[in-house]
């Protein structure tokens, strides 16, 4: 078991290393560099040389990679070009904001998704299933930029209940931010909940058709006891990985929604730094997003392993 965890962590680190390499090489290959972007038309001669020396761009690429990597491990991603401030300070509040948005969506979305999925599966082909399934499929198919825009139109502009776009500074306190996140959360949760509810539904239906559930019925186990003891633990196990992917997707910044609502999260930062050609920030973002994906997937796998007795003994035996 411990061996497996260590192995998985090592694999994760290798993945991160490869991601960092690819982004580094990618930014090297692109024509132009930080100095040409910064100096624009003055990018020649003495000035350019001076800039190179100042930013340390005059040393070979591999040396720059190593020094960058060493610093990055310590949490220092260098300076952002546009703001001329440490990337660390740019990222901090953005990560916090994305975290707020993501956790709100998770805490609202996952319980609703589970309940909807289970209800639709247990009342399969009956009225509750038909009604909920129609709504979830509808919610799944509308792209988020349309649903987000509609939410702004109806709730912010017509009804004037909530602010339509976020115009607070990036580093406001949690309580000031709160009213601003309601609409983005609804927009994200809608699509996420719909996806997960469908997943849970099919998983529960599959387990309901299994021989062991039929056996439980023939054993005389009352319906709800059967659902909670025999069906759900087995049906929700495969859902863990889907939930993990969703969480990673949320934390990584829901780019479109953040842009529509002008929300100061990681997703918008990605767009901003790419359009500003702020390569150090792009690099840092790539590494952070990759680590989020790797660590959440690792957690999900370990959780499945703990909860599934079948896998657990298999590992111990090995």
């Amino acid at each position: 078991m411990l061996f497996l965890i260590i192995k998985r962590i090592l694999l994760g680190l290798i993945t991160l290393f490869i991601v960092s390499l690819i982004t580094f090489v990618g930014t090297e290959i692109l024509p132009g560099d930080a100095c040409t972007t910064y100096l624009e038309r003055q990018a020649f001669g003495e000035q350019l040389e001076a800039c190179y020396r100042r930013l340390g761009l005059n040393v070979p690429a591999y040396e720059r990679y190593v020094s960058w990597a060493v610093n990055a491990i310590q949490g220092d991603f260098g300076y952002s070009l546009s703001g001329e401030m440490p990337i660390k300070e740019v990222l901090g509040p953005r990560i916090k904001n994305s975290l707020v948005l993501a956790s709100a969506a998770i805490f609202i979305g996952i319980p609703i998704a589970l309940i909807l999925g289970i209800v639709t599966a247990l009342w399969r082909d009956k009225l509750p299933d038909v009604a909920i399934s129609t709504v979830t499929i509808f919610a799944m198919t509308i792209p988020e930029f349309i649903s987000a825009t509609l939410l702004i139109l109806i709730i912010a502009i017509w009804l004037e209940w909530l602010p339509g776009i976020v115009i607070v500074p990036t580093d406001v306190s949690f309580f000031e931010l709160l009213p601003n996140i309601i609409l983005p959360v609804i927009a994200i949760a809608m699509i996420m909940t719909a996806h997960m509810a469908r997943m849970v539904r099919s998983s529960v239906i599959q387990v309901m058709a299994s021989e062991y559930v039929q056996m439980a019925i023939l054993k005389g186990v009352p319906y709800w006891k059967m659902v909670f003891k025999h069906v759900l633990p087995n049906a929700l196990l495969p859902a863990i990985n889907v939930v993990a992917l969703t969480i990673a997707w949320l934390l990584g910044g829901v780019v479109v929604t953040e842009v529509v609502f002008n929300y100061p999260g990681l997703g918008r930062l990605v767009i901003e730094s790419i359009s500003n050609r702020d390569l150090p920030t792009v690099q840092a973002l790539a590494i952070i997003l990759a680590s989020i994906y790797v660590s959440i997937n690792l957690l999900a796998d370990l959780m499945t392993l703990m909860l599934n007795p079948r896998l657990k003994t298999l590992q111990i035996r090995k």
């Binding site: 559930v213 023939l218 054993k219 005389g220 186990v221 009352p222 007795p309 079948r310």
Partner: protein, 675 residues
């Protein structure tokens, strides 16, 4: 008169087709189950036997519904009962033992909890008493160390143990009626015999009535007092089991019994032509009309009624039962197999070991496999051209592993596999050239999985023809047609998809695909296990015919010893990946010498109430072969002592050419057979 415990009256169950027609799975079934008796329900897949058993618990599968009739238990109709009332009967009055206990035990719950759940629901015992009772029940089904078993999860037990747990769970509610749905199908022969013996014991011990559903007449013969034979949703014959097995007066039962291979008889059984009509395609007249040898004009338009014959205490659904009555002793005639053996050796397997051990980095670099106790070890078999050699043994005996190695799916650890004295086949697929691949073809157990569902029959058979011979256009088509003709399928099958074929037809396509490569050797991995008995006989006959036509060599793997007896020239008996005995089938079957061969053959169930299985060894499951000594030491009832535990037994060769690997002197091994 004994008390009737369950009364099935005019029961019909079916479903609505897409066109809105009512399609019947069960048609007007009536029967009674008496207190203390064991009733066997026999039929091929699709005959409705499981649906009937489930209906006896008031359970109708999703998608099916009751069209008419009732299942009466304690004078109330289970099929009209509310779920809440059914919960009090299920598990307490009527309990089910499922076909596949591995699938029927909830994977996330411990064995102890699952039995406890039944006790909580159906008894008033307190917690400590229940704990006591769980141990008692596990003991009753003869599971070793009940306390530890109770703490295990289902997947940590072997198939036989899981089945025993299912029996214990059913007994927890002390039911009056036990329904058993193929409870031993899928278990090894020795385990199957032990489970049946246990069930017989429980029936006598507790006086519980049993309904035993199975396609296996051998198992039914061992347990039941009365037999019900079902065919396409109807009862066609019902009566005392001895009469039905010895003197069947319905043509279907008669044909069925004739198509089962017997241990005592070499040669292929006769097959019954055709297959059971699909539900919804039934016409007027007798549903068995198409396949019947005794049919007359009136059978075509009139359907016979179930007729009770008082003198025999038997009900039969046939106009002609009287003529069958006079000469229906099942005199089995077999198609003797022609020996097409040649003197040339085609495949030499020498000193082969195969390991599933994972290679570590060092091993990968050095391109070796290090495992001092490999799954399969020291296999020496020389196979002659045109021979059919069978590998037999229980699951885990390594028989399929050896096939995989010959096919190139697994590389050997040590030893050499040589084709035609010169070509070395010890390497795996990647290192073989196309011709080496062509000469060896495989036919798998389950044609549902081995045929691509998105390809038509034409595409399936065309593949090897294109790959190995580069055939195109008209030539390709003619070849496909010829092959289909060889496996007795019409040309119109070319455009069909596997799902549009019956089980037997699918396996024929798989056979045609194997022969398309014009191979020298065909590996048959349990090729008939997924088929019904009557279809099995037809496929076996087909394989034999093709072999005689093409001079092919078969390596045949099967857990069904009677099938092996029918088709093979020579048998190799394997235990834990080590050979125990190799010899001509006739000798091995008539004079089993090795203790394991005796165990194996003794456990075979024959469809004859007079032949009881002999249970020589315990049915323990060993996970790994022993490090040293004889592979069978753990279960051998004739173990000599330390010599068996420490030394690998030598080969001893009998006069008739059997090779036996045992420490017991040949004379003693052979003496015992006479007694």
């Amino acid at each position: 008169m004994t008390e009737i415990i369950q009364k099935v009256k005019n029961l019909s169950i079916g479903f609505k087709s897409k066109k809105g027609e009512e399609i019947l799975i069960l048609r007007n079934i009536s029967t009674n189950i008496k207190k203390g008796e064991t009733v066997g329900i026999v039929g091929e897949s699709g005959s409705g036997k499981s649906t009937l058993a489930l209906a006896m618990m008031g359970y109708v599968k999703h998608g099916l519904y009751t069209i008419g009739g009732e299942c009466e238990f304690n004078s109330s109709n289970l099929l009209k009962m509310k779920n809440r009332d059914l919960e009090k009967i299920r598990g307490r009055k009527i309990a089910m033992i499922p076909q596949n206990a591995g699938q029927a035990l909830t994977p996330n719950l411990k064995i102890g909890y699952q039995i406890d759940e039944a006790l909580q629901l159906h008894s008033d015992l307190k917690e400590e008493e229940r704990e006591q009772k769980i141990s008692e029940l596990l003991n009753k089904v003869r599971l070793p160390s009940p306390e530890t078993i109770a703490l295990r999860y289902p997947h940590e037990l072997s198939g036989g143990q899981q089945q025993r747990v299912a029996v214990a769970m059913a007994l927890a509610g002390t039911p009056d009626l036990l329904l058993l749905d193929e409870p031993t199908t899928g278990l090894d022969v020795t385990t199957q015999a032990h489970v049946l013996e246990l069930l017989n014991f429980i029936a006598k011990d507790t006086g519980t009535s049993m309904v035993y559903v199975s396609h296996d007449l051998g198992a039914i013969a061992q347990v039941s007092d009365r037999i019900i034979v079902m065919y396409s949703g109807e009862i066609v014959l019902e009566g005392p089991s001895r009469d039905i097995l010895k003197k069947p007066i319905h043509p279907y039962t008669y044909g069925l019994l004739k198509s089962i291979p017997k241990l005592s008889l070499a040669g292929l059984p006769q097959s019954m032509p055709g297959s059971q009509p699909q539900p919804g395609t039934m016409h007027r007249g007798c549903s068995f009309f198409d396949r019947c040898d005794f049919s007359e004009e009136k059978c075509k338009s009139n359907s016979p009624q179930l007729e009770y014959l008082e003198e025999l205490n038997t009900s039969v659904r046939c106009f002609n039962h009287k003529s069958l009555m006079n000469d229906s002793q099942v005199n089995q005639t077999v198609n003797k197999i022609k020996k097409s053996l040649q003197d040339k050796e085609i495949l030499n397997i020498s000193e082969v070991s195969i390991s599933y051990a994972k290679q570590n980095l060092l091993d990968q670099v050095l391109n070796r496999i290090s495992d001092d106790n490999p799954t399969v070890k020291d296999i020496n078999i020389n196979i002659k051209k045109g021979e059919t050699i069978a590998l037999v043994g229980e699951s885990g005996s390594g028989k399929s592993t050896i096939l995989k190695s010959i096919a190139g799916l697994l590389r050997t650890k040590d030893g050499v596999i040589k084709f035609d004295q010169k070509r070395n086949l010890s390497s795996d697929l990647k290192e073989r050239d196309p011709n080496d691949l062509r000469i060896i073809q495989l036919i798998f157990q389950n044609p549902d999985e081995s045929l691509n569902p998105n390809h038509t029959v034409e595409e399936i058979i065309a593949q090897p023809l294109k790959l190995y011979f580069g055939l195109k256009g008209e030539e390709l088509k003619t070849n496909i047609k010829e092959l289909l003709q060889k496996v007795r399928l019409g040309e119109f099958y070319m455009s069909r998809y596997p799902r549009q074929l019956s089980g037997g037809e699918k396996q024929r396509v798989a056979v045609a695909r194997a022969f398309a490569a014009k191979p020298d050797i065909i590996l048959c991995d349990e090729v008939t296990s997924a088929l019904d008995v009557s279809v099995q006989a037809a496929v076996l006959n087909l394989l034999q015919q093709l072999k005689e036509d093409f001079g092919t060599t078969y390596i045949f793997v099967s857990h069904d010893l009677a099938v092996v007896r029918a088709i093979s020239d020579r048998v190799a008996v394997l235990y834990q990946g080590r050979l125990c005995e190799v010899g001509p089938s006739n000798d091995v079957y008539q004079f089993p010498s090795h203790p394991y061969t005796e165990v194996l053959l003794g456990a075979v169930l024959e469809p004859d109430p007079d032949i009881k299985p002999k249970l020589v060894a315990e049915d323990i499951v060993e996970e790994k072969p022993p490090q040293k000594g004889c592979s069978f030491q753990g279960r051998c009832s004739r173990i000599l002592g330390d010599i068996c535990k420490n030394e690998i037994p030598p080969w001893q060769i009998t006069n008739s050419g059997n090779s036996i690997r045992c420490h017991i002197p040949l004379k003693e091994l052979q003496k015992d057979q006479i007694n």
